[in-house]
Amino acid sequence: MATLGRRVSPDTTLLRPILATGRVIYPLVGLVVSMVSMYIYTFYLQIEGGHGSVTGQATPVGAVWGLYVASIIFFIGVSHVGIGVSAATRLLELDYLKPYARIAELLTMFCLPAAVCIITIDIGRPERFLFNVMRYGRVQAPFVWSATVISTYLFASLVYLYLSMRRDFALCADLVPKWRRFYKLLALGYEDTEEERRRHEKTLWWMSIALIPIMVSVHSVYGFVFGLHSSRAGWFNPFMAPYFVLGAINNGFATLVIVAALIRKVFGWEEYLSLRGLRNLARFLCWMTLLYIYFCLSEYLTYIYSPPIGEVIVFRSLFKGDFSFIFWPSQTVLLMGYLMLFLNQTIFNRQFTLWVTVAGASAINIALFATRYLIVVPSLMRPMLPFPTGTYTPTLYEWGVIIGMFGFVIGGYLVFMKFFPIIELPHPGEAERIK
């Protein structure tokens, strides 16, 4: 076997999912296929019978946006973390976070298309939406900017991921003989010389800097989609964009902690995905959650103190009305998630346990999903024209679409792990430094 003159590490631990297929993968693939088929089936039913046949959304009475839009915000939020972690690793030289970078980048690669798939089903006639935005889009429209930033973020992230993986493709061509030609083709002549490594590292460093504002703008645009509705009670708020960005950071880091802990446990990669790395990710998540709670409290306090009439109705429905059964439990779960992370990092510092961190991150994710639902639906329940107040309850089909997209993300990870290393193969002498 002719190598390309690079120094190949004989340790193939990180290639285990590529070299062997465990028995558990088959039922897992079956589960993922059935989850994704829920999305496809609902889409088919919706095209056949229209929105009214599968969703609880309605107009003019009721909510025109519902669970779909809450999930779009959730998935776009999760996609935030990819470049965030990768850029922090590169720009701040946090070597111990390097093994987490690709796991995070993949969250962007799978969650962003998942959000686009939900946008597609939410629109009802996706071809018209695409055609009309591209043909008649106005420079003032947030949706034009949404299309711009999502396309740019997705493409740039793809380029970033490819460049960061090129060395691994070349190494895999030597270490995985059965797919040698496939990896050689993907490596596009990469030879792993000092000069090539330096050039890639420098390019990725500059890309990290350029991608951070794009990452922030992706979720800011979604904040503006809501915040620019001057007459919609509960939405018209100059803090909507930073509020959304902060929520996205929480969402993304919470999901990364969960996914990384799972991968660490399943493959027994404790020496690569170090506890120090997970602990620092959780620490950052902890302080960001505290900031988010502060944002929520100041918003609620402002609206309780001297609200306009529209806000009175919306916030009354949250605090003691139709949505209080979601509002209070979600706020409690958010606080519990924060406390789990906080106590684990401070008072019980010496007995730091990973499962408490994962439980805290899961609680934060659940609470944030509910919060997104509460941003979207209650404001839409208050009609602005003389119509009666409607109701909205998500149907099982809508939940099926969300489950389908979770299946898409899980399936994406499974396929990726089968063909490519999910942790960047260490450079000579680097493995010891990470450990």
């Binding site: 106005r138 390019t203 890309m207």
Partner: protein
Amino acid sequence: MKKHLIILANVIVSLSIAGTGMTRMILRDPLLGGGYEFSTLIWISGVVSFWLIPLEICIISDKKLTTH
């Protein structure tokens, strides 16, 4: 040298496409959005194609472009 020319060409083409798209979007009727159709598509194509530059920097090898 050829590599630099390719990158320069990409910068010029991307900026021109994005600039054209943005100008046409601004020139559209602000109320009805009439005229200058597909300017959003042009704008997004320009912005996205700009991100081919990192690929060109890393993938194109000067040695392979040199003709002996």
